[in-house]
């Protein structure tokens, strides 16, 4: 019954508020509230004068614009940014604290913490010796690129540094929201189910690296590591996997190497980009050196 989109004729009735698909998946029909009577009575309720506007905009277009801007800023400064995502309780903050401790100032870094409520996590990070900004999303269940852009402005990020963004603990929404990061890193702890990658495939598909955390607890659990990794690869064949324990330090050197390698790439790319800013010192980041333990 839309007056302008040409969808008259054999309209599909949309009863109440529930829309239905046109037969054969063809043109869509509108029935406008108040115009329902027109079907049975020709005397009243002439089709309303509606105009059809073609919008064709992605639901995330706004976020993607902000993410693009964040990415440009990060690239210009040679900053390697990671978006750490997981369900609640996988040990993200402990992992960050341990990462900061093990890097021990060798690599300038800053942290953006996302939680619905409290400053607790940012305080833990600051206590570990790194600058941190807490974003409280209130009822929001994920960080978005605009929030992160604002936090980046406040942090005064150093050139050629590392930016770690700890997203809200949630395996659903953060997968869809690009923050401008180089990679999403998904953390799965062995106290969760092996089939999380199958249950939340979007997140494992969006990530470049999976950290399998709390591996020090494996002797006490029935968790099947190979099965979890197989499930993750079923969803994302290119997903890299590192087994770690932020508590015991196991696997941490490999994770730190992965970070350093990304940082070097970010610096190199920044250096070869046409918007090269003067005064950049390339390859300042130390080559991976053996860190405590042998893994």
């Amino acid at each position: 019954m839309c007056g302008t989109c040409g969808c008259g004729g054999r309209d599909v009735l949309i009863s109440g508020r529930r829309p239905a698909r046109a037969p054969g998946g063809g043109a869509i029909s509108f029935r406008v509230p108040g115009a329902d009577a027109a079907a049975s009575s020709q005397d009243q309720a002439a089709p309303m004068d509606l105009r059809l506007i073609q919008v064709e905009r992605d639901l995330l277009s706004k976020n993607n614009d902000y993410a693009g801007e964040n990415r440009r800023q990060l690239a210009a400064k040679g900053i390697f940014a990671l978006n750490l995502v997981s369900g609640p309780g996988s040990g993200k903050t402990t992992l960050l604290v341990k990462t900061i401790a093990m890097l021990d100032g060798a690599l300038p870094l800053a942290v953006i913490e996302g939680d619905q409520q409290t400053e607790n996590d940012a305080e833990r990070i600051r206590a570990a010796g790194a600058p941190a900004i807490q974003i409280n999303t209130g009822r929001g269940c994920h960080l978005d690129a605009k929030m992160v852009g604002q936090a980046m402005d406040q942090l005064v990020l150093q050139d050629d540094s590392l930016l770690l963004i700890e997203n809200v603990g949630n395996l659903v929404c953060p997968s869809a929201f690009d923050l401008g990061e180089a990679h999403k890193v998904v953390i799965l702890s062995v106290t969760e189910g092996e089939d999380k990658p199958l249950k939340y495939p979007d997140m494992f598909r969006a990530a470049s690296l999976m950290l399998l955390n709390k591996c020090d607890l494996l002797p006490y659990l029935a968790f099947d590591v190979e099965l979890a990794i197989a499930y993750a690869h079923r969803v994302n064949p290119d997903l890299q996997v590192i087994r770690i324990s932020a508590a015991s330090g196991e696997g941490m050197p490999e994770w730190l190497d992965w970070i350093r390698s990304g940082c070097r790439k970010a610096v190199t790319q920044c250096a070869v980009s046409p918007e090269l800013e003067s005064g950049l010192s390339i390859m300042d980041i130390p080559v991976p050196s053996p860190l405590q333990g042998e893994g």
Partner: protein, 121 residues
Amino acid sequence: MQRELHVHMHELSLAENVRQIIEESARAQHFQRVRCVVLEIGQLSSVEPDAMRFCFDAVMAGSIAEGALLQIIETPGEGRCQDCGFCMPMQEIYGLCSSCGSSRLQITAGGVMRVKDLAVE
């Protein structure tokens, strides 16, 4: 139970994006009232159409799209095998190539979620 909540939270925030897009269109195209919103939601996008319907009215309340009808066009998922090039329908964002069995499938259709059209006064 927790997952249900998250799923609805997810569509809730996406419905808020729909509202933003509508409000921006209204400013650009000068309309005051939206009667119908047509969304295109790919089968492989992260949006659950029923959850979007569930959130839609609440999110549009108080906006120029209050009371608008929501029409969702669900587009089927398709993928292409990166190893053998075979194209096939996909029901999930991952799967195995029906020709060679590889799991390296690239989504070629059904990944979008967008505001397609608005019927406005």
